[in-house]
């Protein structure tokens, strides 16, 4: 499974949606994922890819990890995988 497909599966599960309902330009907000859901998604992504994501719920906008859309999350994970496992 590609990184993109894995991320979509995780986010779809969190949002209680079908993976087909999650597109690359979806935002977490548009999928109905709240702050607790976001923290849980990040945990699931860390576990799935065995990476550590720098994210502080107090300043989500300041995080180097961009959560503004599914596409930005996928891109962020690719960067982290390269940095942490490359």
């Amino acid at each position: 499974m590609s990184i993109q497909d894995k991320v979509i599966t995780i986010i779809a599960e969190q949002a209680v949606l079908e993976p087909s309902d999650v597109t690359m330009d979806s935002t977490l907000e548009s999928l109905g994922i709240d702050s607790l859901g976001l923290v849980e998604s990040i945990f699931a992504i860390e576990e799935a890819f065995d990476i550590s994501i720098p994210f502080n719920a107090n300043e989500p906008q300041k995080s180097e990890f961009d959560i503004s859309s599914v596409a930005s999350i996928v891109k962020g994970i690719e960067t982290l995988i390269a940095a942490q496992k490359g």
Binding site: S35, L36, F43, F55, N56, N58, E59, K62
Partner: protein, 402 residues
Amino acid sequence: MKRVVITGAGTINALAHNVPDTLKAMAEGRCGIGPLVMRDVERLAVQIGAQVQGFEPEALFNRQQLALYDRFTQFTLIAAREAIAQSGLEFSGELAASSGVILGNSGGGMTTLDDNYRSVYEEGKNRVHPFVVPKLMNNAAASHVSMEFNVKGPSFTVASACASSNHAMAQAFQMVHGGAAPVMITGGSESMLCFGGVKAWEGLRVMSKDACRPFSANRNGMVQGEGAGIFVFEEYEHARARGAEILAEVAGFAMTSDAADIVMPSKQGAARAIAGALRDAKLNREDVGYINAHGTGTAANDKTECAAVADAFGTHADKLMISSTKSMHGHLIGGTGAVELLACIMALRDGIIAPTIGYEEADPECALDIVPNEAREARVSAVLSNAFAFGGLNAVIALKRV
């Protein structure tokens, strides 16, 4: 209904091991937060905390006691010894039979849990010390206070996360106020600064990795502390008859539940608790000169708390002072309201308002007088102490000068 006064106070926390030194540290705006010292700290993402320093339990407790006292119980007993000594009370006869101990605590014996899980899961041992259960149960501290001081009336532990101590003190107040007990030992303690305790908290992604900066626009989370605060709540006439020194009067309290979210705070729930405490204490908004804030330093708490204070106090919100001493002693979770009540007593008795340290940048969403960085002298006659817990459980206590 009976009037309730405070005739003894005790503490141990990251700032100091007693009340006078803690108040001095608060007045000086000293910070008790530093690098965590504990086993496996390198495996933690959050490596700072407000740990009690220079603590030597072996000098304060004997071997048998140490076998039974988790760190949170040790903290409680040290603070209780100071508080009860100050009150001058000795419990015997009818006084012993009718007085009780109600303490706040959230996690119980976390160090005991941590150590013993390690030993059975990590080290594969199949035998644990026989006292694990009596050591970790979160009523252990209240029970040991009752035993050490011969207090035989209503005694139990209250758990409501970060509001535990305020709920406990409100309950103790009610016992004395209603005439059920002449004296109640109350307050709370917490010792969650162990590997498992910090690891659990860092999972929630609300902890700061560098500092606790309540109300500052660049705040980035809470910092955990540990310790205890213990008080003697006594019926006013009982205290006067024996010529006891009165530190402050407990004027009233209110408790509310947000009934909304397990972690996100609610302005309405907090504002209802503040307004309710004023009503219960028969205080006008203008009477309140200082509020010890819940002020955790998280994005969510601080702006919600400021909005709630503005709601409850109207235009007077701009005239009162509100500070978060968590910036100095950290967040003691179930013990936090108890240590913070000390800042309220200092405001009333000494006319010194403890500051919010670490304040760097104004936040338009926290536009109140938060007493930035330096203590201030001011005469106040009534104060509030806020506690808003995870789970949406709020408890606000009102004190006034006698």
